[in-house]
Symmetry: C2
Subunit: 376 residues, 2 copies
C-alpha cells in the first residue's frame, strides 16, 4: 500500500524538468536518500527505471570485459545478477547456497583467494524469492581486505531493515521504490562510494549502457551543472520525495522495529497453521516471510481465494520454489498489525472450511503473544 | 500540461503488477498504443523508462558487434543514436545535414550503396533540438529496397503528427509519454514489426541489456504468458492509459490539425517579432517551433522573465545552437490557441519594454489571421 500523501504527490501538476523548482526537488531527494542509505555518499540518486534497472546499472558501470565478479546465488535475484555480468563480458564466479539459506563468508573468501583479481563481489541483502536475510558485515570486511568493490542489492530491505552503506563500506547499493519505501514502482534509489566512482572514472572502455551511464548521470544530478541527460520521471520523483519524508518522520529505528514485530507475529501465526518459514530463524527477513506450503494444500487455489474473497494478495514461489511456498510481504505502509491479523484470520477460515484446521483462533493467539497480549 | 484526468489516474491506489486487473490494463495500453502508432504490430508496448531508454532499447536489440548502422545526424538526438550504436560494438555511419535542415534521401541511398550490408537506418522524425520535420516515406522505401531495418525516433511526433508505422513499413519505432501524448515522463511507447522481431530472435549474441531485452519483455507483455521480468511502473501505466484514451476521444486527424494550426499561428506571430523559424517552411514541425533569436536580444534573460513573470517555460538552444535559438513546444494539451496568444502577448510586452518593438499587437494580429480572424 501507498500512503495517501504519496498518491496525492503523484498528482501534482508538472514542472519542467529543468525548472529551478524541480532542481530543488532533486536536491531534496538526494538528501533524503542519504538518510535511508545511512551514507554521506555525494553520488546518491534515483535511477529513472525500476529496481531491475538499478541492478543493471550497478553491474554495467563497474564491470568491463574480462573482469571477474563473484556473485552470491541463493535465489532468483542472484541468478539475474550473474546473467547481467555475463552480458557485459564479465566472468561471473558463482558462490551458491541452497534457496532459503544464506551465503557463508568462508565460501566467498575461498572464491576471492581462488580467482584473484576480482573486480567486485555482488550479493542480495534480502532475497525476495526465499525470505533469506543475508548478513553483510563479514562479506564487507572481506571485500575491504581483498581490495574488491562490494555491490549490494537492497531492493527489498531499504527502509525496512538497516542498510548501513557507510559503516559497512558498501560501494554500490541499489534499491526499488515499491518495497519498504511504499512508493509506486518506477525508480531505483542508487548510491556509489567514492571508491566506486573512482573505478567508474578509471574505466578503459565506455559503459555499454548510455541510459544508465553513471558518469553522465552524475553531471545531470550535480548541483550547479544539471547537464541534460534524459528527462527525469517528474511525477514519480514527487511521489518518492513524499514517501521518503514519511520515512524520515517515522524515523529509521522505529520503522525497523515495526517491520521486525509484524514479521515475527506473522511467522508465529503461520507456524501454528503448519506453514513453516523456509529460512532458519536467525536469517528470516522482517518484511518478507516465505513459508513452505504442505503438499496437501492446493497453494494456487488458496492464493486465488485470498485475492478474490478477502482482497489480500500474497506471492507464490519463483523458479524451483514454484508451487511450494508462499511469499508474504509486510512492507512499508503494509507492515501493520491489522494486516497480519486479517491475513491470519482469512487463512484460518479457509483452512477450517477445507478441514485442515479444527480449532479457530490458534494462529491469531500466536500472533497476539508476539504483540504482548493474551488475546488477539 | 497534463490533463486533469491523467493526474487523477496517476493517484489511483495500486494493484499488484501480476493482479488479473492489472494485466487487463496492460492489454488496454497495447491496443491504444497500436492506434497512435497506426500499426497492427503485436509487439507494441511501453518500455519502463523514459524516451532515452526507448532509444537505447531500439539500438541494443537490433545491433550486434560489427553491424553497420546508418544514422541521420541533423541535431542532438541523431548524435546520441550514433553514440549508442558505438557502445554496442556497432559501426555508426553518419549521414549529416546542417542543424535545422532535413536529411536528403539521396545521401542515405549513397551511404546504403557504399556500406552494404547495412543492418539498419536510424533517423529522428521530429528533431526537438532544431524543429525540423523529417519526411519518412522516401527513406522507408530505400530501407525496403536494400533489405535494411528502419528505426524511427518518434519521441516528439507521436500523437501530434502522423507516425504511420504500417503504411511506411517502419520496423522499430519508439516515443516518449511527455510530448504530444501529454502524460508525465517515465515511459517509452515502443513497437516492433515482425521483421524486426525476427531479427531479434535470430541474434547470434544475447542483447547486451537485460533490462531492455525485448525478447524477454515480449514474454512479460504476452497475454497468457506474463512471465515475470521486472515490476512494471504501475502508476505511470494508469496515467498512460488515460492519456491515450484522451487521444482516442479527440481522434488522430483532429489532433494533427490542431497541432498544425497552433504551430502555424505561433510561427506567424514570432516572425512578426523578427524571430524566424530555423527549418525551411515545408519542414517545420507543428509541435515544436525553433526560431533564431537576433544577436541583440539577451535570450536567456528573456526566457527567465517569461518563466518568472508570466509562468511560461520555453526552451533554449542545445549544442551548437546554445544561446542562438528558442524552442517553443505546443504539445498535446498545451497545443492551444490560448497558449499561443498568451506567449505572443508576453513577448510583445517584453520587446516593447526593451525597445525592440514599437507597435503593440503586431504578432497577435499575424496569429489571428492564421486562426481566420481579422483581430486577435
Amino acid at each position: 500500500m501507498v500512503h495517501p500523501r504519496v498518491l496525492h504527490a503523484l498528482s501534482t501538476p508538472l514542472l519542467g524538468h529543468l525548472d529551478p523548482a524541480f532542481l530543488a526537488l532533486m536536491n531534496d531527494i538526494q538528501a533524503l536518500l542519504r538518510v535511508v542509505f545511512q551514507t554521506k555518499n555525494h553520488f546518491t540518486i534515483a535511477v529513472s527505471g525500476t529496481g531491475s534497472a538499478g541492478m543493471e546499472a550497478s553491474i554495467v558501470n563497474i564491470v568491463e570485459p574480462g573482469d571477474a565478479v563473484i556473485i552470491g546465488v541463493n535465489g532468483l535475484f542472484g541468478t539475474r545478477l550473474a546473467t547481467i555480468v555475463e552480458r557485459c563480458g564479465g566472468k561471473a564466479i558463482l558462490v551458491e547456497a541452497p534457496w532459503g539459506q544464506i551465503l557463508e563468508p568462508d565460501a566467498i573468501e575461498a572464491a576471492l583467494r581462488r580467482s584473484s583479481p576480482v573486480k567486485a563481489v555482488a550479493i542480495v541483502h534480502a532475497e525476495t524469492s526465499t525470505g533469506a536475510w543475508q548478513p553483510l558485515e563479514p562479506i564487507a570486511n572481506l571485500c575491504r581486505n581483498h581490495d574488491t568493490l562490494f555491490v549490494v542489492d537492497a531492493v527489498t530491505s531499504l527502509g525496512g531493515a538497516p542498510v548501513e552503506v557507510d559503516r559497512l563500506g558498501i560501494d554500490v547499493c541499489y534499491s526499488a521504490t515499491q518495497k519498504c519505501l511504499s512508493c509506486p514502482p518506477g525508480l531505483s534509489p542508487f548510491t556509489l562510494s567514492d571508491r566506486a566512482l573512482a573505478a567508474i572514472r578509471a574505466r578503459r572502455t565506455p559503459c555499454q549502457s548510455w541510459y544508465l551511464d553513471m558518469a553522465l548521470i552524475a553531471d545531470y544530478w550535480a548541483e550547479g551543472s544539471r547537464a541534460y541527460h534524459h528527462t527525469a520521471p517528474i511525477s514519480m520523483l514527487y511521489a518518492l520525495r513524499e514517501a521518503l519524508r514519511l520515512v524520515e518522520e517515522e524515523g529509521l529505528p522505529a520503522r525497523f522495529t515495526r517491520h521486525r514485530l509484524n514479521g515475527d507475529a506473522l511467522a508465529a501465526g503461520l507456524t501454528e497453521l503448519g506453514l513453516s518459514p523456509l529460512p532458519p530463524l536467525e536469517h528470516r527477513l522482517p518484511m518478507l516471510t516465505c513459508v513452505t506450503v504442505p503438499a496437501h494444500i492446493p497453494e494456487a487455489k488458496i492464493r486465488a481465494s485470498l485475492l478474490s474473497t478477502y482482497g489480500i494478495e500474497i506471492g507464490g514461489g519463483l523458479g524451483p520454489l514454484k508451487g511450494k511456498v508462499w511469499r508474504i510481504g509486510l512492507m512499508g505502509e503494509s507492515s501493520t498489525e491489522a494486516y497480519v491479523l486479517t491475513l491470519l484470520k482469512a487463512l484460518e477460515d479457509l483452512f477450517i472450511r477445507d478441514g485442515w484446521l479444527s480449532t479457530p483462533g490458534t494462529a491469531l493467539r500466536a500472533a497476539a503473544r508476539i504483540y504482548g497480549r493474551k488475546k488477539p
